[in-house]
Assembly symmetry: C2
Homo-oligomer: 195 residues x 2
DNA sequence: GCGTACATGCCAAACGTTTGTTATGTACGG
DNA sequence: CCGTACATAACAAACGTTTGGCATGTACGC
């Protein structure tokens, strides 16, 4: 059929990273086809060659974002349970410049997602997946007595709420909330949960 | 100077509410001069008569937003301390359709605020004011033994993080987080803090 | 092997629309 | 009349998208 002259998927990823770069710097309000093309050093024609339109550009960029956040290369996977939960929370927080850039995009996406039905649904799904991940760690922790019994679903909601709320504050006041302080707040929070 | 034919300030407020209405429906990405004028039932010429440009329109609308959130007409001011803290948290949450609309704007503003230095500074200040309000309630609660001693500033950060994180989740999944469930999560959270 | 046929990768330019802003015109109370 | 309060209309710039074309590669009958 079509032995590709260039690797299609890898090119799509290049484009997505250019989108990413523009978003981190100018937010969704500054995301334009021309800006992405400039960041990529190409023409807007290239973009439409790999993506149907601006809409798909955004959607694909957000998909990549979720995966990267979950698979952030942090210290080796800890023991399941409370330690794993802690690692999951730290993986989300903007503890490094790179993580801060990703979170800026993540937070910025909420405006578009709240106004676009498709992106809204995708974002809701993403949240559910994240909560599911937290929940299994919570249930592991409960099984070994690291956390008191209780509705693990509600607890996952609480943990995610705290984490994302901390993300927002850290983005708007990075000097008051450096990495060490964020970690401290997470540990205090988890200590309160263990009663 | 000018015995005004119309009340200048009241007209500015009318404009701001039109801005508000557009933001709640289409987000910051859909905020245009013409959309605001249409929502107001006027021309764009009116807008420029009261505001220098789009920038000032946004800034003023966000100022109003903060004031309204803080002064939301909820049940009469409770006793200072833990009860007051609880009320402050409930005042923020999207427990009513009106509050949900305000939160949609609030959350949406983060994208622009993160990319615009002026709005960024204004937003940071707003957060500090909110935390200060929470902090006095926390210290009151600590004084009467409703909360264990500890850094009230860090605790305020934790409370605000949880609250705003809950706002985001509630906006993206209103069916899973109706008003009653949100209130329940707040009470569970506060119970955990009281150890 | 080779030349035709065709698909792919990409650019440059142009399309029509929408944007924020500004200039001009009109109505009218003081 | 003069200045305020708007509407109307125009403006250049920027927007997302479409188009035509030029390469450059593979596929295949011969």
């Amino acid at each position: 059929m079509s032995p590709a002259r260039t690797d299609h998927d890898s090119r799509r990823q290049d484009v997505s990273e250019a989108v990413w770069q523009v978003l981190a710097e100018h937010g969704f309000g500054g995301l334009t086809m021309r800006a992405v093309a400039a960041a990529l050093g190409s023409s807007t024609g290239l973009l439409t060659h790999y993506f149907a339109g601006k809409r798909e550009l955004i959607a694909h960029a957000l998909d990549i974002l979720e995966v990267r956040t979950a698979q952030r290369p942090r210290q080796a996977a800890p023991a399941p349970g409370l330690a794993a939960l802690r690692t999951q929370m730290l993986n989300i927080l903007p503890l490094t410049p790179d993580a801060a850039a990703m979170n800026r995009i993540w937070v910025g996406s909420w405006d578009v997602a709240l106004s676009d039905p498709d992106l809204f649904a995708a974002q809701s799904l993403r949240y559910e997946r994240i909560r599911a991940g937290l929940r299994t760690s919570i249930e592991d922790a409960q099984r070994v007595g690291e956390l008191p019994d209780g509705d693990s679903g509600r607890l996952a909601t609480t943990v995610l709420a705290f984490t994302h709320g901390l993300v927002v504050q850290a983005l708007f006041d990075p000097e008051r909330l450096p990495a060490a302080t964020q970690t401290r707040l997470v540990d205090d929070f988890l200590a309160a949960l263990t009663r």
